[in-house]
Assembly symmetry: C2
Homo-oligomer: 597 residues x 2
């Protein structure tokens, strides 16, 4: 049977020792959450994830969702009750605006708990996850009346949200979308068209479903400049704000997917459904991007989450399964064979995943803290820098953590030998579930293009220079520290490859844009390696300080130093390969005629 235990101690290490959580008590909401309270909240979240969400994970995969003849959709057994428990615990609105019923606690805390929930049950957590994205978009762009109507019920979880972008003929290129909006005399619109891949599009878990829909108002300009965002509720709120008349939106079918079976992925048909414009006409894409960016961090977190739960199970199996003897002689002479964790190739696998997970956790929390600063600091310059970095790393969090998360689910499955391929053991589900995270919310190739084609050059490269500066300053500050020399040496080397590659783009991609596209995925992963390396350097510093201070749990900090060393020696050198590929450019890649393929 699969196992899962939320890594609360590691989260606390990152928040307290690595990120210096207590330094941020000046931010709104942080003073309400002392570090002790944070620990208590994490422990509560851990319980919910382990005891309520996780036991439904395989159930959800096996049962999946079913669409019935009347267009209704049912979800796996227990999902509704678990969702209710999540909402009743106040988890959905944890970090949202108290003016609309949220708790206003730090987003970094919400993110920390979110990891546990997605490890425990990724498919189930998509129902509140989409709702949180919809809340963010409405909160930023909707009118005060719209906020009052929708946000309190959504923050409670009584109403859920969806995001409707994709159509059969357009995903990445939203300029092609055809769903139309016809203005009505009362200020509303009639929305007609078909949207696909709508996660949580229809289900019985909430009283109402609030669809955020991109559509084109009659006569709007072609392309992305003619797209507007609409709120289309399943049930139109009545005068008292309760669900009223059924709207003209329905689920036409649900998809038969490789994984996340517990989530209903719907084809949604809009047939003159009543909708209300959010924000300005023809500026829908901007509004939707608030939701997208929020969602991209959430998807990156899913990559980490699945990597973590897959790792825990692989560890469990590797300690339990006996097979063969250690190369250095029997380690369990009383048994017929040694547990496979004695084998270096098994260790290589486990250490690779571990070194990623612990740095990945630090990276998402570092990013979430930037989001808190960007939204809550009273210092405009500090807000700006944090927002720059948040915007820069969002495609890296999404692209790198999901690519690696999937790879690690596969590696963890491999530990099980033939049993890994059998569904009952649970490892196949992690692989199948993790696979979608590389695709949705912008396929990872699009994340790489967003990074190279948009984020790098934005504001004259202000964000990337701030990022390089932060890492360089860390290395300079600890130049004299012999204990950190090993880590800063490798980090600086990786940073050097990243800086050289950045320079190469500046010199070679202006005149020949294909050179940027050709190196984009390698660049995203190169940036990811350096960022994760930076997280390891930060962790090594914190571990040394704890050990120097005589911390009680010395083994925890010593293990951190071993894992940091493993990352620097084994994983960080990939920066050289990535740089070599980038500097090769686009020529051989683009040389074949399309019909030669």
């Amino acid at each position: 049977m699969p196992v899962y235990k939320a890594p609360v101690a590691d989260t606390m290490f990152v928040l307290k020792d690595v990120l210096g959580y207590e330094r941020y008590s000046n931010l709104a909401g942080f003073s309400d959450a002392s570090i002790d309270l944070v620990e208590a909240i994490l422990a509560e979240g851990a319980k919910l994830a382990e005891n309520v969400m996780f036991p439904l994970n395989q159930v959800g995969d096996q049962q999946g969702c079913t669409r019935h003849a009347d267009g209704s959709v049912t979800v796996p057994d227990g999902f509704k009750e678990a969702y209710d428990a999540y909402c009743e615990g106040g988890w959905l609105g944890l970090a949202f605006d108290p003016d609309y019923g949220g708790q206003g606690l730090p987003y970094v805390l919400h993110t920390a708990v979110g990891e546990y929930m997605s490890s425990a049950n990724m498919a189930l957590m998509m129902y509140p996850g989409l709702t949180q994205g919809a809340i963010a978009a409405i909160h930023t762009h909707a009118s005060p009346e719209q906020k009052q109507t929708f946000l309190p019920k959504m923050m409670e979880g009584r109403w859920t949200g969806t995001m409707n972008l994709t159509e059969p003929h357009c995903g990445t290129d939203l300029g092609l979308l055809r769903t139309r909006a016809v203005p009505q005399a009362d200020g509303s619109f009639k929305i007609s068209g078909q949207k696909i891949f709508i996660s949580a599009g229809e289900h019985p878990m909430s009283e109402n479903i609030i669809h955020l829909v991109l559509a084109r108002i009659e006569g709007a300009p072609e392309g992305v400049k003619g797209i507007s965002l609409f709120i289309v509720p399943k049930f139109i709120p009545d005068a008292d704000g309760n669900p009223g008349a059924r709207n003209g939106v329905s689920c036409g079918s649900i998809e038969h997917k490789m994984g996340i079976h517990g989530n209903s992925t719907c084809v949604m048909n809009y047939d003159e459904a009543t909708g209300w414009l959010v924000g300005q006409e023809n500026s829908g894409l901007k509004a939707m991007f608030v939701m997208m960016n929020e969602a991209r961090l959430g998807v990156g977190l899913q990559g980490l989450s699945v990597s973590e739960v897959a790792y825990q199970n692989a560890v469990n199996y590797a300690k339990d399964r006996i097979q063969g003897r250690a190369l250095t002689g029997p380690k369990a002479p009383d048994k017929k064979a040694d547990p496979i964790i004695v084998h270096p190739d098994v260790r290589r696998t486990l250490m690779t995943i571990r070194a990623f997970n612990e740095a990945g956790r630090a990276f998402v929390l570092w990013t979430a803290l930037k989001s808190d600063i960007a939204h809550r600091s009273e210092d405009a310059a500090e807000r700006q820098t944090a927002d720059d970095l948040l915007s820069l790393v969002t495609p890296i969090v999404k692209g790198v953590l999901t690519d690696k998360g999937f790879d690690h689910a596969v590696m963890a499955q491999q530990m099980y030998g033939g049993h890994g391929y059998i569904e009952e053991w649970g490892m196949s589900q992690y692989v199948r579930d993790a696979r979608i995270a590389m695709i949705y919310e912008g396929a990872n190739g699009i994340q790489a293009l967003d990074l190279v084609g948009r984020k790098l050059a934005q504001n004259g490269g202000r964000a990337v220079m701030a990022m390089f500066k932060e890492i360089e300053e860390f290395c300079a500050l600890h130049r004299e520290n012999e204990k950190l020399a090993f880590f800063t040496k490798h980090l600086k080397k990786g940073l050097g490859d990243l800086q050289a590659s950045t320079m190469w783009f500046m010199q070679n991609a202006m005149a020949k844009p294909d050179n940027a596209g050709a190196g984009s995925t390698d660049y995203m992963h190169l940036f990811g390696l350096v960022t994760l390396g930076y997280m390891w350097a930060l962790q090594a510093k914190a571990a040394h300080e704890a050990l120097d201070g005589g911390a009680a749990n010395a083994a925890f900090y010593e293990n951190k130093l071993v894992t940091a060393r493993f990352f620097m020696e084994r994983l960080m050198p990939e920066t050289v390969l990535r740089r070599t590929r980038i500097e090769t450019g686009a020529d051989s890649m683009m040389a074949l005629a399309a019909d030669a393929f």
Copy 2:
């Protein structure tokens, strides 16, 4: 709908231009298969694969196999008829001994056709595939009477075969196996025990199923030295050699797997089943390894096969799907967007798979030709060298082609965006099917250990030195050839990393064996890169010669040179990273206590 077209022209290029097939007419069976006949046979095989096997691939995935209450197992619609067509065409016994009804044609030809068949329907091809492995083991180790009883019917495909190694508590470590064999007065044995993961263990496609079973004779030594191999037929042949009494072997259940749903993966229960010893008592493992080595090449081929069919579909989609505009301006101005094949990141994906597939095809055919030489040459020294190389590269074919085959199925799926995650589109099946090839016939970590721990040092390193010599001689021979300078430069660099890593093992792994285990997987992939790079250098040479000779289809050869360049520039530099990891050794990998995980 998925598409597949067998790459006959590329196979012919490899056989004729790259490997010089016509030079081997002195080998038994080769003179019966002129290059023209080879082309005709490939074309026939292509038709069978494309028109009969491939249309059943998704059907097989969707329907799967079903075990009934009486222990019988049914297979997907059409599988039996397709299998019959394969057998009636003489494909099963194509390369086997004519004394027992085989056609005695080159194994390299069998391998070439085998690629097409596994691309078209991997799950279906496992039924004859297992039979071919069983034929090889019986042919090498069984008595003349046993051969006469079983081989003719198996080569016809009227009887199929299986291999029974794994038990619930042992896979890799066969020394732990518990299935027992009790000698009977008539010279037969009573076999009792349970075997799991038995592919094609029970099905209605043949008149009889011949199980090859590893078991321990009462009183035999512990560990692998006490294992014997037995033939256990489902129906005991009667005096006329026809299926007679039902034997005490039955299918207890079938597995619910991630993929290859069309193949019945059985738990087989042996309850005093009658079996006959194959070869000597207690030397069963050696006999089974004949089957294993044959099967490992077949599994490596599956990796290539799935990579090829996934690639073809990704190409098809990339040419058809319009989305966005090229970075260098519209390429299809008459359409609302360009086909996505204009985007460099899409090209990167397609070129990476293509560069692997075309080198992988050359590699498996190069290996199969070594097998032909090893078994059919009249020159003992030539046989020895070929057998050395075959033995050396078998774990590389298996481990590298299946790791990469899976990666490429995932990359091809990624081209489809959200549609890649939906089962109807077919890309998920390639990923799920390809996954098993990394696991069965010895998980890839075991292949790497086999290479580093056994194959490298065998006979004082004779095989690896022969391999290095072959590549060095190629580079030396073409030292003056300016057209090949680019390719030999990169190849020599990669070979240098491989030789340095080999030396590092010699210097660092004797005293500390964990250093070998720690670098084994990296070494296997390093060796794979150099071997595939060698295949590209050979192909570049053949392409230049064809162009210099004024070959009709110049574009084909020019495309070869572009793809060779892509491989050398983008993929070959990974040798540096692999070497760096190997030279890091085992320290940080092994430093944590087991309970720290």
